[in-house]
Symmetry: D2
Subunit: 291 residues, 4 copies
Amino acid sequence: MTTFDPSVPPPATEWVLTLSCPDQPGIVHAVAGALAERGGNITESQQFGDPASGLFFMRVQVQADAGRAELEAALAPVVERFAMTWELDVVGRRRRTLVLVSKAPHCLVDLLYRERYQSMPIDVVGVVGNHRDLEEIADFYGKPFHHVPVTRDTKAQAEGRLRELVAELDVEVVVLARYMQILSDELCRDLSGQVINIHHSFLPSFKGARPYAQAYDRGVKLIGATSHYVTGDLDEGPIIEQDVERVDHSRAVTDLVAIGEDVERRTLARAVRWHAEHRVLLDGHRTVVFH
Amino acid sequence: MTTFDPSVPPPATEWVLTLSCPDQPGIVHAVAGALAERGGNITESQQFGDPASGLFFMRVQVQADAGRAELEAALAPVVERFAMTWELDVVGRRRRTLVLVSKAPHCLVDLLYRERYQSMPIDVVGVVGNHRDLEEIADFYGKPFHHVPVTRDTKAQAEGRLRELVAELDVEVVVLARYMQILSDELCRDLSGQVINIHHSFLPSFKGARPYAQAYDRGVKLIGATSHYVTGDLDEGPIIEQDVERVDHSRAVTDLVAIGEDVERRTLARAVRWHAEHRVLLDGHRTVVFH
Amino acid sequence: MTTFDPSVPPPATEWVLTLSCPDQPGIVHAVAGALAERGGNITESQQFGDPASGLFFMRVQVQADAGRAELEAALAPVVERFAMTWELDVVGRRRRTLVLVSKAPHCLVDLLYRERYQSMPIDVVGVVGNHRDLEEIADFYGKPFHHVPVTRDTKAQAEGRLRELVAELDVEVVVLARYMQILSDELCRDLSGQVINIHHSFLPSFKGARPYAQAYDRGVKLIGATSHYVTGDLDEGPIIEQDVERVDHSRAVTDLVAIGEDVERRTLARAVRWHAEHRVLLDGHRTVVFH
Amino acid sequence: MTTFDPSVPPPATEWVLTLSCPDQPGIVHAVAGALAERGGNITESQQFGDPASGLFFMRVQVQADAGRAELEAALAPVVERFAMTWELDVVGRRRRTLVLVSKAPHCLVDLLYRERYQSMPIDVVGVVGNHRDLEEIADFYGKPFHHVPVTRDTKAQAEGRLRELVAELDVEVVVLARYMQILSDELCRDLSGQVINIHHSFLPSFKGARPYAQAYDRGVKLIGATSHYVTGDLDEGPIIEQDVERVDHSRAVTDLVAIGEDVERRTLARAVRWHAEHRVLLDGHRTVVFH
């Protein structure tokens, strides 16, 4: 995109624009007009008007020769007119991601595998563990591992270290990949909409600790996992994705755990991918996910 | 089986035997021996020893020329030796079933369709409605419809009528096919293990009233249904079957209800079929389901 | 919409517009502009540009006080400029549907149930059977049943009768609900894009006759169904929807048939609903399905 | 099991016995009797009589203090009487496995992950690649990597090397984890029932090369994978497991490939696990899988 040859038109960049605003007539036309003005060709577009919240949501992919400044300038009057919350990014850009883990390897292994081999658009810039168990996995994938132990007494200090890492590494997304520590309300608030957790149950069933043991006791026939944004309200953040697997009476709790790991890793992987691709928009306590 | 021609051996009846007892060595051998003694040929058999409850469960299908009395005699010493709870039935016998409904037709339509066209082994001997809305469906399938209205004042009286119908019609299974009334603890106890309910959520999520509205508010990505035995403890009976369907942000509560109806009817149909086929055994608060 | 009270604005009609045309910049903007011009408020919109075929597809739902003539006038220049194939309908209008059956009841029962109780937007204006077996079901739902027997010698005559019914009843959609006759190439061509079939296998596996027997022989672990538009090329028309169910070694062919019926009825119901809601667009030999 | 302390009974070993034979009365009783004779306690047992093939299949897990020789001696008369094919193994023993790969990493990564972290009962004793691309993955998991390139001219030689490795490493199971070479009929025959392949389509759809491109062209709405035993008849071996994933019109062939990788790895993992746990029995061209 940076070399100049007047005889060859530069390939168009593909941009992704997401926005939300109070619903009213004319939004699609105005956005499409602003993009068309700069020669943009819409290749994919989805809209949703939520009658419950009165909000309108839109995700557009557009090919354009225009740069960011030009596009922003074209969109500025529309953004102002409709009081939009919006984001503009280049399609496929890898988002800078910090992964927090404890001892369970399945989610970390899967995310790093997908980054390297499946072009998931994340750039894992670091792995933080409150234990050292998974350091070798980070090493294999060439990722810096930061050991940040957490005890009752060092919790504040550990969170300070997390904040430093987020700042130093210019982190955009924090993934709790079976990180067995609870973040403080304050940190949740400061990183709101940027922290994705995987909970090992089909929420709101079996909130809290030992969900597979609870599931076993209740004799459920499907076990599940839930990936959600983290808010101060534990296990209550907006849900991004859920999935389940069938089980039967013959499964012990340890079996449920092992089967659940497969559900967890694929549920988390989808949530992280969709978030990284700007497919997830917040609608109050719910999410809009554009596939 | 009733005509006699000494030159043609009668076709063997296929029997299904289910049993549970405290686990210990030798059970399978003893049961198989008792059946072999009467010339039985085991065509299908499943066992499960639950390490948690210490109970052993078994379901056997056996072809035998022997009659019920002979088989029971052969099994009697085994039953006594192992302190078994057991049941013996002819495979495929249609179990006498009473269906209770209110206004929602989807489960009733599905059960009657499956009885008539899909050889589900039930014989619906009556339909009870606290409203008259579904009488025409019962009529079409040639089923007696009993209108038993329920108000706060007539609840006891209505339950009396239910008990009468269960007794008069020699009912073996009661199906609550979206029956919007709560049975009394006493009736639940008296019909324990014979009443199957469909709850319109993935229990234990969204217990209680208006589960689809709750599911909408929580923004879940899968909605489900749970079929369970009814106990006095509302929505807490042993689960027989659960299933889910994927939904997304664009679905209003009314959409969730419509989508949920499909999940409910197939979840209930499976539970009723498996119960009718003697595939469901009680293991405390859980069920063993032999497929 | 027809009574006039100057003090109360009439409720806006909701329209659905579907279109396809060669892809190029500016389509969304032009369509949105034409609709905005008549005061239309876009409530739902989806687009897809197929890089393989070079075609662009769009489905828009729009609330507008304008009548059909006005909207068509507003869209005319856009339609001409982009050489669009398009369709405009009122959201929720029940499409006039003719259902063709033989002896298997499951798909017919399900469609009529969904029309009556689940607001599937179809108006079944008649049921045609080459056997009389399902006449009672049509009767129960108050649908005229037409017995059109087919033998080798009367095939042409029977098709003539079908054409008459399609014309007389002003039929928009023909559903082959396990109709065991093959339509002639000519009829397929004349009704192209209007005839939906359910094939009892996961196409392209097990084309042709007795697919469940073929599936049994091959020992598959999932059985499926495929709903597709009918073309002259048997079992090769554009696929609208497919689904599967898990089976195991213990299932005989008759079990596969019974299990398959559930898959067939839900697969066909989805295809018919989506078609009736103008969600299915033809992209050569493939379909675009906007959910 | 080998130290002797007369006051502490040794913990019982858990054995798994699988067998098949022509069906006839008395098999279960005879087997259960032989095991009971040696103090065996049956903890899990499943039987299946196939009416089509006339064969009977059984899988029993039994806790017994007896050693292999004792159990075999007890079973010998039963085996002879019923002309059984049978196998006896210790539950949980890791079966010696050789994994063959080319360039695609997803199945190899998943199998090695499951061996190390999920107690899949395999012991991968070597990885063979016809390319070197995946050597680093084998290294990370501490597995010897054997580079056995294959060209048209060296095919026979390469197969010779495979045979050597199978012999030297005492291999029990060969897994073709997206190995893009076809084994010779002779090798298939010699390793019959020991080689498991993952085919990247829902067989019998899209046999042969480039199945995802075929699936794209046909416009299917679900893509699948099939794991099967390898026979000389390419893509026609007995199916062990199949699974599918939903796709829509917006997916390009490359997307189908990426989505398919998830289906492939979980389908292969299940097949390998079930084979390793002695849950898969051959019934002619079909498999019996005891869950």
